[in-house]
Symmetry: C2
Subunit: 330 residues, 2 copies
């Protein structure tokens, strides 16, 4: 098992990716290897800060170019074939690695993943699948930003992808899939959602569609997968990330500092911390590509490695390929 | 000042509207009057439960028909002209009242308000404007569900409406207006939002447009008004309402019951309680129409009356009329 990690990606690179890789290696079985891809001298220097000897299962591969966080994705991917993103994904395409992880320019990682790994037959557009923490099990929301204007057919595709991921990686035996809308009734929603409702209903052989869900149902824990376009998904995801800050602000204002620093309260905030979930898979590509938050900490990177290993171990990409091919044949 | 309250609207009618009206009257100046519209016998019986003598400033007007919460809005409005919604709005149209409040069928209240009060010249579509609590001042988000598929021109109209409301009712002297998107850059967003960005920028004489805001910026307290289509606004609003439940659930699991029942924690939850804000105005109609949550409690209704009085007192509808007429002339 070889996991490629973009050492130059993210607001805190190379510090956070390097520290996250080292933390991840402590958890991983001896058969797993982490490959840091980036400017070799910089990466080696960062690794050296953590101690004299480099761990046996850590490799550094040189990639002389770097895609900036604010660069235009497609132009950057094309003009910098030897960026950490380009080199890393090429290793996976050539069968030399099982997964790629990056906290870098999200648009560039998406574009490069789709171009270099390709899409499974039957997939119109890949989707970013994010986990939303709830009081019980987390819920998978997709798309979280890969596709802003989505056709009903694309929304149906996201339901397929999310259902396979929930079943194979999250271990939900018959995942309930809901379509995000503004009312439970089939006729509620915008034009794309209303048409998608009919398409999803017609695919009941492929996944368990439970109908429309509303904003308030996302965290209720009654569905495993919530399908929406990437505009709505991205807005709600970022809104959710900001809610922990709001709580902290309100509690700071009203409560004793002792309560805030208590272990119990820390557990509450750990649940709400996006870094607990590490990274979001880009579903639909032929391979495993994990997209991390630009602000990812070492902890987030470590958890993203865990997500990548799970996805690779369970053969996610193969299952999606088989499932979509089956779906397309009906 | 005469405020009409739909006594038959909402999941807890007529109990909650009647109790809310009585609570509201205790706060209001002697010049204000609350008119309960609904099946007179039922309403009178409910009023009687609260004590022997009906307050001097409380009136009951009979409306024999009732629009159910699940009825098709337009059909209900047309087939039941003597519903509490129809009778109540007619009183306002005839100049016999200054505002209408309902926790009933939202679609029916919107449709009847637009049909019976009419729209101000220059308004394409009315919008539901909701207040989102933050650590500092609340932020106005519109549209929250009146219009699901919005044109760029309609989004521009919401910016106009929200800006006037923030200035005149919320007392923000030069309200900052943000456009909800998935990135700060002008070229980020779905097709309608990208085009709306240009329209909003061109209207800088009419309101203070500060550019795109993301999901995480809504609660940051740096803008006064957030503009979005009614699909996204409704999803985020309902999601936000559910967050207090999530937080309660997590705290219940992790903390002592004593902490949860503390006054400080109660203050935190009061901030997050939608009933604090009472009702959301339907902006753009010629008059004042306040839409309440179907589940409104007496407290929510009391606060909705306060919102209605503020809107009527400051001449909101007249200001919107003047402002939009000015905007249309440029």
């Amino acid at each position: 098992m070889r996991i490629i990690l973009d050492a130059m990606g993210g607001d805190h690179a190379p510090e956070a990716p390097v520290a996250g890789a080292l933390e991840a290696l402590a958890d991983l079985p001896a058969s797993a290897e982490v490959v840091l891809v980036g400017r070799a001298a910089e990466v080696e220097a960062e690794v050296a800060k953590h101690g004299a000897a480099r761990p046996a299962h850590l490799e550094v591969v040189d990639a002389p170019e770097v895609v900036g966080m604010a660069e235009k994705p497609l132009a950057a991917v094309r003009s910098k074939p030897n960026s950490s993103i380009g080199v890393g994904l090429r290793l996976q395409r050539e069968g030399k690695a099982h997964a790629f992880i990056s906290a870098g320019n999200t648009g560039a990682v998406m574009a490069a993943s789709a171009l270099m790994l390709g899409l499974h037959p039957g997939v119109d557009r890949p989707a970013i699948a994010t986990l939303f923490p709830t009081v019980s099990k987390p819920v998978l929301v997709l798309d979280a930003g890969a596709n802003v204007d989505c056709s009903p057919r694309e929304l149906r595709g996201f339901a397929h992808l999310g259902s396979v991921y929930a079943r194979d990686v999250l271990g939900r035996s018959s995942p309930a899939v809901g379509l995000l809308s503004i009312g439970e009734e089939a006729e509620k929603g915008n034009a794309a959602v209303k048409e998608a409702h009919g398409l999803l209903k017609a695919e009941s052989h492929a996944f368990r569609f439970v109908g429309n869900v509303e904003g308030r149902d996302i965290l209720a824990g009654e569905v495993d997968v919530v399908v929406c376009d990437g505009f709505v998904g991205n807005v709600v995801l970022k809104f959710y990330e900001s809610v922990a800050h709001l709580f902290t602000g309100l509690l700071n204002r009203e409560m004793d500092a002792g309560v805030l620093r208590s272990e119990a309260m820390q557990r509450v905030f750990t649940v709400l911390d996006y870094s607990t979930y590490g990274g979001a898979p880009l579903l639909g590509v032929r391979g495993v590509s994990i997209i991390c938050h630009g602000r990812s900490s070492a902890r987030a990177i470590r958890n993203a490695v865990r997500v990548a290993v799970q996805a690779a171990q369970c053969g996610l990409s193969q299952h999606i390929g088989a499932d979509l091919a089956g779906g397309a044949a009906t």
